[in-house]
């Protein structure tokens, strides 16, 4: 792979590094404070979770789900209300809320997958429906969330007494362990390929890539260690990201999302149930929206009628900035994570600088457009003869 190909493949990573460096400079290093680095993750947790679901929808052919912000509101409201008026245990409430999310998913997936209602319209309807229902539950008030065990499950930090008193050593230890695993996995992966008699890729690039990631992990965990340690929310987010990365990259069903987006008719003639693919995409989206609703309720500590407004746009934006095709059929979880972090860094950086909220919108809009234009133009340029 020559330099040009590397730059093309990692365009967004390079852009992220540039933007990060820019804001680190503009904020005079404040972006790098442990607290801000920790918040970067927490404030974008919902975006990462939603973007994973949104990717599956977009893969099926550039279809988006407009209802996720409203679903976040509805589920957040339900959780807050249940915790307020009943004595149910937090875990029961959580399960009930996730079940409601799944029901919303079944509802939308049914119309989109089986009745062929255009996703845009179906989820636009959902956007109004779930927002309205959420406000009905809230009775147009703000409800605080202060159930201890609920907050512990989503919004606490991992702190081991004795170990994590001054510096949160547990975070650093986890970081080093993950880093070691990343480096070792390069070798075990190669060994396993060699054992099965498959061709082995050259060691250099793969090792270099994982070493860089490992170093970043350690640096980041060190930041966390200097603040409050590993946030539980990070574990939730990582779990979702890993599960979706695995599904889209490794499983047969994940492959079907790409296939449907690439050519639906050909997929159907290959004996694949395309209705089910749509159904599952929207089911999983709403389920993740419900999880996001819980994360938001716990993080903010309250829910009101505007909770989750325009979350769908953040999720969609992350996907497109992260290289998902607006026509479907291509995009990766790793890419959309970069996209989400990219948006997150811009948001956070602008907030620290104290840029006016209205200007933040203008910057975000411009970035989104530039990213997609760049994607479209660079992909056309590589088109072959004729």
């Amino acid at each position: 792979m020559n330099a040009k190909a590397v730059i093309k493949k990692y365009t967004m990573v390079i852009a992220l590094v540039v933007v990060f460096a820019l804001f680190a400079f503009l904020t005079k290093g404040r972006l790098l404070y442990p607290q801000n680095m920790s918040n970067l993750l927490l404030q974008n947790a919902y975006v990462l979770v939603l973007a994973c679901g949104m990717l599956c929808c977009i893969l099926t052919g550039g279809n988006i789900d407009l209802s996720v912000g409203s679903t976040v509101c509805l589920v957040g409201a339900l959780a807050a209300k249940l915790l307020q008026v009943t004595d149910l245990h937090a875990i029961v409430v959580i399960l009930a809320c996730l079940a409601v999310g799944a029901c919303i998913g079944v509802w939308q997936g049914f119309w989109i997958g089986h009745i062929h209602i255009p996703p845009f319209i179906c989820t636009l309807a959902g956007m109004f429906l779930w927002r309205g229902l959420g406000r009905v539950i809230l009775a147009s008030k703000t409800i605080a969330v202060n159930n201890k065990s609920f907050l512990n499950i989503f919004a606490s930090y991992i702190q081991i007494p004795g170990l994590d008193d001054a510096k949160k050593w547990s975070a650093l230890i986890v970081g080093i362990a993950v880093a070691a695993f990343l480096v070792i996995s390069v070798f075990t992966g190669r060994a396993s390929k060699a054992r099965k008699g498959y061709a082995v890729d050259p060691l250099g690039p793969a090792l270099a890539k994982n070493v860089i990631i490992a170093v970043l992990v350690i640096l980041y965990c060190n930041k966390l260690a200097n603040y409050k340690g590993i946030p539980v929310m990070a574990l939730w987010v990582l779990a979702v990201v890993f599960i979706y990365a695995f599904i889209t990259n490794k499983t047969a069903f994940g492959r079907y999302f790409y296939a449907v987006g690439g050519n639906e008719k050909a997929t159907k003639l290959s004996g694949i149930n395309t209705k089910k693919v749509y159904f599952v995409a929207y089911l999983s989206m709403s389920f993740l929206a419900a999880l996001s609703g819980l994360l938001m309720a716990a993080r903010i500590g309250s829910v009101n009628g505007d909770t989750g407004s325009s979350f769908e746009m953040d999720a969609i934006g992350s996907c497109f900035i992260g290289g998902a095709s607006a026509y479907g059929g291509s995009g990766t979880v790793a890419g959309i994570c970069i996209g989400a972090i990219f948006l997150g860094v811009i948001n956070q950086g602008m907030s620290i600088i104290g840029l006016d909220n209205n200007w933040q919108y203008i910057v975000k809009g411009s970035v989104l457009l530039i990213a997609v234009v760049f994607d479209v133009v660079s992909n056309h340029k590589t088109g072959k003869a004729g």
Partner: protein
Amino acid sequence: MADMILVMKNITKEFPGVKALDNVNLEVERGEIHALVGENGAGKSTLMNVLSGTYPYGTYTGDIIYDGEECRFHTLRDSEEKGIVIIHQELALIPELSIGENMFLGNERKGRFGIDWDRTFHEARTHLDQVGLKDSEHTLIKDIGTGKQQLVEIAKALAKKVRLLILDEPTSSLNEEDSKMLLNLLLEFKKQGMTSIIISHKLNEVAYVADKITVLRDGATIETINNEARNVDEDRIIKGMVGRELSDRFPKRPHNISDEIGLEVKNWTVHHPIYTEKVVDDNVSFYVRKGEIVGFSGLQGAGRTELAMSIFGHAYGTDISGQLFLNGKEVNIKNERQAIEAGLAYVTEDRKGNGLILPQTIAVNNTLARLDKVCSRGIIDRTRENMVAEDYREKLKTKTPSVQQAAGNLSGGNQQKVLLSKWMYADADVLILDEPTRGIDVGAKYEIYCIMNDLVAQGKSVIMISSEMPEILGMCDRIYVMNEGKMVAEMDVADATQEKIMAAILKSEKTENEGE
């Protein structure tokens, strides 16, 4: 000296990494029909795109002299102003607009306020009469067949005051009857003094219609054959195209047809999916033995594709009735997945539309129909997948640098091979190949035929739907003829001729008309 309307001198056009045209020369005499032939990738379309200004002046080297003056076209519009109109293989018509609206799209007849629709439709009618299309100028494009759409394209060119008409594969999606009509129309225009350049793979048509035939190979001009006396035969042209004598266009095979029947269909009736009262296939029965290639001949719209797709897990049609037997046992197949599991494969006629996932790699396409074979517990083993694809690449001699190449980057013939690989990997016992050689060049056709021979040698049953009669006659053991949804004849290849097949079709139309 002859009166040359067009001289293209030493045209060289490079794409990154490829020299698509290398010092190509083309001379076209006024009032002749000039054919441009060559295998896929020989540079025919590229040459025409240079001529029409699709590749603007400056992106190629060499001179274009049209009507005695040197031309430097920067856009398509520049060349159209001079009367050069190109009609592409994929028609550029908007389905939801009327014939008249389409004809003047981008060339609107403007009145004082906006478009003068009365004049538009009046002129449309005039040109439609010239091409002999009776349909109303207000009919929507989607409501007329491909043959008629092709005529609309020509009428559209006439509306642009065309003097040099370029047709890129005009008959590739037409049946024999419509093709013939189109070619005769070109001959008619020639009498009126129009010059045409025709790009075609169908060499019999080229021999029929062209006065001169220029052969391109690997981006270079090989020769120009004079056919004014209509004395050039297909083998002569093929020799120029492939650079050697292709002694036999259809590879021979030992005929080891088993007595066992692979697939049998009885009284199969299919209704149209939208206009449910319309019968698309009417009480059709047929069978195919193991080790046998059976051909389905007929005109376009005979219901062959619909028959095949409805058998393949009801992928087409509603209200399907009839019996289906596989290996002698009656089966009830309700969807595509069941069809694949039962050992059926339908290799579509429309590679791009519903065959391949063009942006995905060859490997992904290769395994899509039977992804479970490279999965364990739902998890894909990518290395194994690549090995499978690699294996088929070698077996079928697919020309590609790697199986990680997107299917969309391959030529038609190689795409067809990937599509065949996909269905061979699906372990089908009965393969239905729908127009397997449409739009691919002579060399690739031969290879596809060889693959078909291999399949039957393994005891599989092959059904080939084709509109090209020589191919049906050359490859099949037995031939069914369909017309308007009915099975009208069955003949052994030994007794079959093109005339007999056509006669069967025509006879059935006659009896039908008398019956009404």
